[in-house]
């Protein structure tokens, strides 16, 4: 299987014009921005203090005072979702950063070198892929203890081979291009070529994969927190809120519904954004109207 990369030959304004005609992109973009804005606002203001427990107010249903109700410690769920967004975004984003930061150079290097280096790196990749990701994440948190930082590491490690693979496949599709040959004829080293020509041309591919991994990271963080292995109190996290909610589903279903929806909407937004970007930048996938 060979990857085919179409390099769009368009101006930025052309791409933007197209972007804002793409429903998936616009929807995804709006949702993602809203979530980000919510997370930023939470630094400055939340309806209630999420570190303050008011046991007397526990498990109140949605009302004007508490739009999404309160949790088992009387904390405002809306405020917790706002602050929790911070955690989810931070964990997923840093994990993507780790994956990209390590994976992309590895993949690009493997593609540039080829031969034994490539083979060895890909076998290591296979090795990591052979471990069920969640299981390994559980083991990692079992060793280092639960917490947001270890969740980031656990998720980030499994982003590495993903990005390495994507970067390698993308780079392998770029390397046979004539402009690479031209650069080689101009005496550029493979590292220089990787940086100057290969990476910019697979950037969109990585961007799309990045949004996918970002979304998966949010799901993974929620899963780990749900098992009690993610962010620890008093830092609210969406997965942890679901963990707390599951024993109170009958009396306080809002405790499960709203954080769950926050996850769904965020992941949906990111996936739509990724789809939109892929759609806009891949001329072959132009929708027929």
């Amino acid at each position: 299987m060979t990857l085919h990369i179409d390099i769009p030959e368009e101006t930025l304004s052309g791409i933007l014009a197209k972007a804002f005609r793409n429903t998936a992109f616009v929807t995804g973009f709006v949702i993602t921005v809203l979530i980000l804005v919510m997370a930023v606002i939470s630094y400055l203001w939340t309806p209630y203090d999420v570190t303050k427990l008011i046991i007397a107010d526990k498990t109140q249903g949605p009302s004007l005072a508490h739009w999404f109700g309160t949790d088992h410690f009387g904390r405002d769920i809306l405020s917790m979702i706002m602050v929790g967004a911070r955690n989810s975004i931070a964990v997923a984003l840093v994990a993507v950063g780790i994956g990209m930061g390590v994976g992309v150079p590895l993949g690009a290097f493997a593609a540039a070198r080829g031969g034994l280096v490539d083979e060895a790196l890909m076998r290591v990749n296979d090795l990591v892929f052979a471990f069920p990701a969640l299981l390994s994440a559980i083991m990692i948190t079992a060793i280092f203890g639960p917490g947001a930082v270890n969740a980031i590491i656990a998720i980030g490690i499994f982003n590495i081979p993903v990005f390495a693979r994507v970067a390698r496949a993308g780079a392998l599709a770029i390397w046979p291009r004539e402009f690479i040959l031209a650069a080689r004829a101009a005496g550029k080293s493979s590292t220089q070529i990787s940086i100057e020509h290969v990476l910019p041309n697979i950037a969109t591919l990585l961007l799309v994969q990045g949004t996918i991994q970002f979304a998966l990271g949010i799901l993974a963080e929620a899963g780990l927190s749900y098992l009690g292995l993610g962010a620890q109190p008093p830092m609210p996290s969406w997965g942890r809120m679901l963990f707390d909610a599951q024993t109170r589903m009958v009396v306080a279903p809002w405790m499960a519904i709203f954080p769950g929806m926050a996850i769904v909407i965020t992941v949906l937004g990111l996936n739509l954004l990724g789809d939109g970007i892929a759609d806009i930048l891949d001329p072959k996938s132009r929708r027929q109207r």
Partner: protein, 540 residues
């Protein structure tokens, strides 16, 4: 009565007008040639006749086949026509066949679908058909998969599929563009015979005036979706009444004006290739048996003088590109040595190669693929400056780029644009600007004009010729197109199966080829002069 009648056909895809008031007809047994440069709407005409247009396309006008209104027919009616009464051959044989089905299945499928015969009967007919197109059962059983065949063989399979049910009309859309000249001649011969045998109408679509002239009874010349001129082939091309027709014909036969000033026999050779061989590891057929390596270049020796323009011609796969890459030190020979200006460049590291790189540059075939779309012209054209001893300042760099652009006929303001803002011909000029910016002694050009339309190609050949004169750059042209070789080179090397089989002055070799390989190339090369002459003769 015409078999296919296209009347005031207009076609839009989205907001783009593709065809405007298109008129065309094909009579039974007639070969109609449809000629035009890229983007003229040739292929869309063919797809309209098949009604295989993209979803967003809207066609108005009249298209009738055998009395049936194609634009109004139901999908079922069209399915009954396609493959049975109208066959179609496509341009790209490498992708036109389903990779996961055997050639037998693919040929028999249409037969079974239309005639409802048993599998065995359909396979028998498929076998006959494949035999007819030159793929005899003994060598090419039905169980072969497409990837086991070469490009020419695959095109034969596609023709077998299209002609399996002896359609009344065969549409061939650039059927030979992806093939080398020798294969092209073979496939065209096959098409001609098949059409004659069963009195098919043939709509032959091509950008190559010579090919169409050789094949067609009548010709339609298309430009930007409009018919420029249509009529009897010989008359149209000999009279050249329409200015566009004349422009096309002249461009096809264009030879740049060159004064031969470079004496080729004296001085130190610029490049010396001595006994160079390049092997690639072969496919392993089993675990234990290591397959014999594939020898791409076999003990080749040659030398070039400074300022000399040399053509390296040969059929596709003969090893000419591999040889060129080794000369450019982008690939390493398995054995033998290459010397550039007397210095060995084989086995040197990138750093050691820097001085050599400064003096040799490359121009590639594809004007689209040879530029990184993410970088601006300034950076792209300046890329070879990387090998200079002293890195130029930014101002110096811009100055050098501006100069190079000027030399290739582009404006210096172009350096702040992206490559996609240029047309194909302009990009090839950029490519040349990049190649000459370091003032090299040698430029290797790998099929530099074969992807260009004829009129553009003439301009680029002129540019090459001009620069050769002005800067004294030596060229090594890699090409399968003898007209290019004839137009611009002093000497020709004919390569076949990894070996150089003939070498000599260009005109001598092309007019009196000695080796079998050279003879085949010369015989197969389409030539507009000859074609028109022949047509005139036929018609008396």
């Amino acid at each position: 009565m015409s078999l296919l009648e296209i009347d005031s056909l207009s076609l839009t895809i989205g907001d783009t007008q593709i065809l405007k008031g298109m008129e065309l007809s094909v009579a039974p047994g007639e070969v109609m040639g449809l000629v035009g440069e890229s983007g003229s709407g040739k292929s869309m005409t063919a797809l309209t006749a098949m009604r295989l247009l993209p979803h967003a396309a809207r066609a108005t006008g009249r298209v009738t086949f055998d009395g049936i209104d194609i634009l109004a027919a139901t999908e079922d009616q069209m399915c009954a026509l396609r493959g049975d009464d109208i066959g179609m051959v496509f341009q790209e044989p490498m992708t036109a066949l389903n990779p996961v089905k055997t050639i037998g299945e693919q040929v028999a499928e249409g037969i079974r679908w239309h005639t409802k015969v048993t599998r065995a009967a359909a396979e028998e007919r498929a076998r006959q058909m494949l035999d007819r197109v030159g793929l005899p059962q003994a060598k090419f059983p039905l169980s072969r998969y497409p990837h086991e065949l070469s490009g020419g063989q695959r095109q034969r399979v596609v023709i077998a599929i299209a002609c399996a049910l002896k359609p009344k009309l065969l549409i061939a859309d650039e059927p030979t563009t992806a093939l080398d000249v020798v294969l092209q001649a073979q496939i065209l011969g096959l098409l001609r015979d098949l059409v004659a045998e069963s009195r098919m109408g043939l709509l032959l679509i091509s950008h190559d005036l010579a090919v169409v002239t050789e094949m067609a009874d009548r010709i339609t010349i298309l430009r930007r979706g409009e018919v420029m001129e249509a009529g009897d082939t010989a008359r149209t091309l000999s009279e050249q009444l329409h200015p566009y027709t004349r422009q096309l014909a002249q461009a096809s036969m264009h030879v740049p004006a060159r004064a031969r000033t470079h004496d080729t026999s004296q001085g130190k050779p610029l490049i010396q290739v001595e006994g160079v061989t390049r092997d690639y590891p072969g496919r392993r057929s089993s675990l234990l048996k290591r397959a014999a390596p594939i020898r791409a270049v076999d003990d080749v020796s040659l030398s070039m003088q400074p300022g000399q323009s040399v053509a390296l011609v040969g059929r596709s796969g003969c090893g000419k590109s591999t040889l060129a890459r080794m000369i450019l030190a982008l690939d390493r020979p398995s054995s033998g040595t290459i010397r550039f200006r007397g210095e060995t460049i084989t086995g040197k590291s990138e750093v050691e190669l820097k001085p050599a790189r400064r003096d040799m540059q490359v121009v590639f075939q594809d004007p689209y693929g040879s530029f990184d779309p993410r970088q601006k012209v300034e950076k792209l054209v300046a890329e070879p400056l990387h090998v200079l001893e002293k890195k130029p300042t930014r101002a110096e760099r811009r100055e050098m780029v501006a100069h190079a652009l000027h030399e290739v006929g582009l404006d210096q303001r172009d350096m702040d644009k992206y490559p996609h803002e240029f047309s194909g011909g302009q990009r090839q000029r950029l490519s040349i600007a990049r190649a000459i910016i370091t003032r090299p002694k040698l430029v290797v050009a790998d099929e530099p004009v074969s992807a260009l339309d004829v009129s553009i190609r003439a301009q680029i050949l002129d540019l090459f010729a001009e620069l050769n004169q002005k800067l004294g750059i030596a060229y090594l042209f890699i090409t399968h197109d003898l007209t290019v070789a004839r137009a611009i080179t002093d000497e020709v090397l004919v390569m076949h199966d990894g070996k150089i089989v003939e070498r000599g002055k260009t005109t001598e070799v092309l007019d009196h080829p000695q080796s079998e390989a050279a003879q085949a190339l010369v015989a197969a090369a389409p030539d507009l002069h000859r074609a028109i002459a022949r047509k005139m003769q036929e018609q008396g």
